[in-house]
Symmetry: C2
Subunit: 388 residues, 2 copies
């Protein structure tokens, strides 16, 4: 966990408020740059994407943003024409306060589906919003304002040359991002062109947020965006990409560990695959198997379920069980013939706060690592009674 | 539930025993016909299929069987060359007792993965097995012998002309069959050729067992087989297929309702799809969503999760949320604007023992219905501590 005093990069300030979207916790966040910033973003591919996503896709098209707005506790999804008009009104109100073009404000929204925003409260609040700089610069407070059922705010930071990169994320369930993820906002004072930023971000997102799964469900609101305002000057793009990768990987692991009801981080690596895509597919099959996830939860040394999850990739006809090797941590469990002592060792490995499963397919050189969590009765309790 | 006195069809008798595979419950079942029977079967497509499956694929190739053997409490999967030799020894032993060719005995096995059969006990028992007729003719007792963590045995029956069809099934978890299912054995005294039987069975399996999902996990041991010994004479094939459909649908619903930890049957129909395949894909996405399943468990009127699960079919770019209609029972929830009374009605519908969700896509005429269950803390408890 990053220290509690992490500041946003130079030029970024945050307005954090409660406007009563659902309760009395902070639910409205504007992070604004003092100058226009290069920007990139990826979004959910859901066919039920909400107006925040469809609107923000247009905003990001020119590679330029000055602010990101997050409304939490209401996703504004499946809300029809009224929902679209409401999203546009929020963006217009924030742009007016900032004195920037409406096209330079990104909106992300997260929470319950199928309810309209309380627009009277939002309009009243927007009427009081002035221009930046805003009072808050604490990344943790900003991340806290995005939370729904998250138990902890998630932030990560890195430096590259004179520049800093600070990422905020939220999300605990409905997480199997597909081209994007939950809500992640990354801010940097590095100077990059929109094209450089977009390439670096997509490269990193693929191996981090797109390799994360909490429950196989894909949000209607997934948004990952980065703003680079250039105040710290130019950076080496490769070094920047590496540092950005560190930030996003840290956020990915924090998101997985805080998955709804999660008690453990589950990391699955598949190597020796025909190609990276096959490795990712098989790794996801293991990571998403409820039987693997419950065994990990109970530290039950039932490694056969990993064999099952590999086996269910039925289209991968080049997978031959004679060549497959399965390991938990450093311990090989298949092929092999675990005795009582071996099963006890395996149970101990599975009782740790972080469980690593590695499967070698023995086909080629493809490999991928994915991040998730165990499946607990806590997940069921949280989700059996969410809206009521 | 069928009455407890359901008898196997004419000519079929059962040997039921405990041979101490894991504990003292019945774990060894042989159902034999007095004469050779036409037969058909479908199996898991798992890349980790066990020797029972690979062996039985060979046995069924000539469309003829005289007996089906089930060993429960040990799947004999991921057990290497020794596991294969053990499966062959079981088949040889039963064929010797029956006085039939080894190729006429089908073996199915279910239980924990990665452990060898206790062959000394099995060999000793096989040495005592004589020829049929066997003492048992009660279908419920035979179904009970196949159970692992099933809470109830599952049987169904139908008549067609002078013939009877009796089906037995087991399975509670690791159920998203792919070309086959858990273990299902169907016996009939109808007279059909192997080709007629195979066509009828595959047609029925597609809309029943292959439309069932408990937890998205596909067993390494899925086997569905049917034996038709012809003792009741010829039947109308279409009428037979309909009656077989009734038996398999009943078993499918019983399997879904007894899913691990299940408290409710969940039935999802998608219509208005481009084609049947799209309807099945979208219906499975809803049925398998842990967020939909937990909401159904808690009778939480959070219908937006169904919209989410439709939306995550991202490849189906012809799905337009403007044309989608979502219903729970007879109540339309989207589009619409449920008031408090509407939400209460929805919560009541979701509190029933059987919850029907219907989604109309408004694209074409394709439709499909799938069967599953809610996701409860009971599922987690059962599976967090299975082997230990």
């Amino acid at each position: 966990m990053a220290p509690e005093t992490t500041q946003l990069p130079a030029g970024f300030t945050a307005h954090i408020a409660n406007i009563g979207i659902k309760d009395t916790t902070t639910d409205f966040l504007v992070v604004a740059s003092s100058v226009p910033a290069s920007a990139a973003a990826t979004f959910t591919r859901s066919r039920f994407a909400g107006p925040s996503v469809t609107l923000s896709r247009r905003q990001i098209a020119d590679g330029r943003l000055q602010a990101a707005v997050v409304i939490s506790k209401n996703a504004n999804v499946a809300t029809g024409a009224q929902g679209t008009a409401n999203a546009e009104a929020v963006v217009a109100g924030v742009a007016r306060a900032l004195g920037c073009p409406e096209g330079d404000v990104l909106l992300a929204s997260t929470g319950v589906i199928g309810r309209q925003y309380p627009m009277e409260r939002i309009d009243a609040h927007l009427a009081t919003l002035g221009p930046p700089p805003y009072p808050a610069t604490d990344a943790l407070a900003a991340a806290t304002a995005m939370m729904t059922t998250d138990t902890v705010p998630k932030i990560a930071e890195a430096t590259v040359g004179d520049a800093r990169i600070v990422g905020l994320a939220k999300g605990v369930g409905m997480i199997e991002p597909d081209m994007a993820t939950m809500i992640t906002l990354v801010f940097t004072d590095a100077e990059l062109s929109p094209g450089e930023l977009d390439r670096a971000f997509r490269h990193v997102v693929d191996r981090t947020f797109n390799s994360l799964s909490v429950d196989t469900d894909t949000s209607t609101s997934d948004t990952a965006a980065i703003l680079a305002n250039g105040l710290a000057g130019p950076v080496d793009v490769d070094a920047f990409t590496d540092a950005l990768g560190d930030v996003c990987l840290s956020l990915t692991r924090q998101l997985a560990r805080d998955g709804e009801g999660a008690t453990k981080l589950l990391v699955v690596t598949v190597d020796g695959a025909r190609d990276d895509l096959q490795a990712k597919r098989v790794a996801k099959s293991i990571l998403n198997s409820p039987l693997v996830k419950t065994a990990v939860h109970g530290a039950d040394p039932n490694w056969g379920r990993v064999a099952m999850a590999v086996g269910k990739c039925a289209e991968d006809t080049d997978i031959d069980q004679e060549r497959v090797v399965i390991r938990f941590g450093a311990q090989q469990v298949f092929p092999g013939d675990l005795d009582e002592q071996g099963l006890r060792e395996l149970a101990e490995t599975m009782a740790a706060a972080e469980v690593h499963i590695t499967v070698s397919l023995g086909i080629g050189a493809g490999s991928w690592t994915v991040y998730g969590c165990d499946l607990s009765d806590g997940y069921v309790r949280i989700n059996a009674d969410y809206t009521t």
